[in-house]
């Protein structure tokens, strides 16, 4: 499904990583590990087509993602550190617009269920600025419940700021998506988040040579 | 040759201020630009 061949990335003067290569087959679950500043976020942004690599290539189903553009993006869900929510809109409105933008318009009912599954039923209609940090993160993650058809999920520290219930719910969602034939690439600093037996692990610090930061 | 003498040349038919003002600033600009280039070149050298 996804092949990455000797990817290199420099930010300003510093080479974050060089010679990063790996492949991810269907039902692949990849945990990108690495210390702070090792370039995890930059790698994920390059994979989803937001950032540009200095060298190397990312291929999706054999085609370079740079050429696929919208065809690739229709099949990707990316969640970065930012929650991508408008403070003046409610969680419901935000989720509906996010799904339309991603090319998967949904019904009001589906949106309500997605928010319920993340325990946001009560505050679904409040403007997002009234929510707590954890609630905001959960309403951002709620789009995953509606992204079943998108094969590739790229999640940057999805478990941060989540309570125990939300962590376990997210874990079940991810596992369900993977067993359903999708792929998930994620970064996390919580060790026990997902059982390691079925997770491929890619340690940025070990593999890629880089300039000392 | 258009000018009888040096003084006449600098007078420039009474319009010396404008003509030499133009050429003077032009060569000042060229000198400034070359000086800035040299400074920038030396600064780049020291920062290694």
């Amino acid at each position: 499904m996804l092949e990455v061949s000797n990817l290199a990335c420099t930010r300003g003067e510093r080479t974050l990583f060089r010679g990063v290569s790996f492949a991810l087959e269907a039902r692949g679950l990849l945990h990108v590990a690495g210390t702070n500043g090792s370039g995890k976020t930059s790698l994920l942004r390059i994979l989803c087509g937001l950032g540009a690599a200095d060298a190397g290539e990312v291929r999706w189903r054999g085609e370079p993602t740079r050429a696929l553009r919208e065809a690739y993006w229709r099949e990707v869900v990316y969640l970065g550190h930012a929650n991508a929510l408008k403070d003046d809109l409610s969680a419901t409105e935000n989720l509906r617009i996010a799904c339309t933008l991603a090319g998967r318009p949904t019904t009001a009912g589906a949106v309500r269920n997605a928010l319920d599954s993340f325990g946001l039923a009560a505050c679904a209609h409040l403007p997002v600025r009234a929510l707590s940090q954890g609630q905001k993160r959960r309403s951002a993650l709620a789009r995953l419940a509606l992204s079943g058809q998108a094969p590739m999920w790229i999640l940057d520290e999805p478990f941060s700021a989540l309570d125990v219930a939300a962590v376990s719910h997210l874990e079940t969602l991810i596992l369900a998506h993977v067993t359903g034939g999708g792929n998930v690439i994620f970064t996390t600093h919580q060790t026990a988040a997902i059982d390691a037996s079925i997770t491929q692990r890619f340690d940025l610090d070990a593999v890629a040579e880089k300039d000392p930061c | 040759m258009n000018w009888g003498s040096m003084i006449e040349f600098f007078a420039m038919g009474g319009k010396g201020l404008y003509v030499w003002g133009s050429y003077g600033v032009t060569f000042a600009v060229i000198a400034i630009e070359i000086a800035m280039l040299a400074l920038r070149r030396r600064a780049a050298g020291h920062r290694a």
Binding site: - | K15, Y23, T26, L37
Partner: protein, 256 residues
């Protein structure tokens, strides 16, 4: 990262080798002094023709001699912006770093020439029309061109990452180059419709042969000077941006 995939193995001269800053650096260093010397010689010849060979103008007397620097500077300000947009476009299309550097290297020289064109235009207007600043169509578009140069340089200065600065500058230069004819024609209408074409900086009325040759020599002098200045500046930019590479350290190690 030179676009090596176009490298042919035959013995023919391979231009793409010079697409990499490391290969271009010594080349620029070699030819820049020649252009500078050529410019100096042409300046001397041009000024000699302009002052000692070209006759006095019937109407404007001696002040018309400012044309020998005003018109070349005005042309250069336009040509350099077009060259800047050309390199910017190449940089965007082929993602070659050197083209972006070339565009950034040209901008200051272009801005200086625009300033000279405005300054000499004002000094020429004073004896001819009695006012320092003439809202003439060409001078007004030169002024707007100067703002375009400042916009380009300010944008590049505001962005730290050199790659983003090059690309952002490239988009601005391309948008600017599309707008320059629009600006020129709208200023032309603005000038003729508001005051009629009474107050406009016509170039010297009947261009005597020697006047024309003098001006053309000065144009080539400005060309040579602009190329030399741009090549020197691009060398500085290459050194600043490639500071971490070992070839720059070796080069500077040898130098200092």
């Amino acid at each position: 990262m030179p676009s090596a995939n176009l490298q042919n193995e035959s013995a023919s001269f391979n231009w793409f080798k010079y697409a990499s800053p490391q290969a271009f650096f010594p080349l620029a260093g070699a030819i820049a002094p020649w252009f500078a010397a050529f410019a100096a010689v042409l300046f001397v010849v041009g000024l000699y023709i302009g002052f000692f060979v070209a006759p006095t103008d019937a109407q404007q007397g001696e002040s018309y001699r400012i044309i020998f620097i005003h018109v070349p500077a005005a042309w250069m300000s336009m040509v350099i912006y077009l060259a800047m947009a050309f390199w910017a476009g190449i940089g965007l299309a082929f993602n070659t770093r050197l083209s972006g550097m070339m565009a950034s290297a040209l901008a200051p020289t272009g801005a200086w020439f625009t300033f000279i064109a405005l300054w000499t235009g004002a000094l020429w207007g004073r004896p001819t029309w009695g006012t320092w600043w003439v809202w003439d169509a060409r001078l007004t578009s030169e002024l707007l061109l100067l703002f375009l140069y400042f916009g380009f340089m300010a944008l590049q200065a505001a962005i730290d990452d050199p790659r983003r600065a090059d690309k952002a500058g490239a988009v601005l230069a391309l948008v600017g180059v599309i707008n320059i004819p629009i600006i020129y024609f709208s200023v032309q209408w603005w000038n003729t419709l508001h005051q009629g074409s009474s107050v406009s900086l016509k170039s010297a009325p009947t261009m005597a042969a020697t006047m024309f040759t003098g001006m053309m020599v000065m144009v080539f002098a400005c060309w040579a000077y602009a190329i030399a200045a741009a090549l020197w500046r691009v060398r500085c930019i290459i050194l600043e941006r490639e500071l971490r590479t070992d070839w720059v350290r070796a080069y500077l190690g040898k130098q200092t």
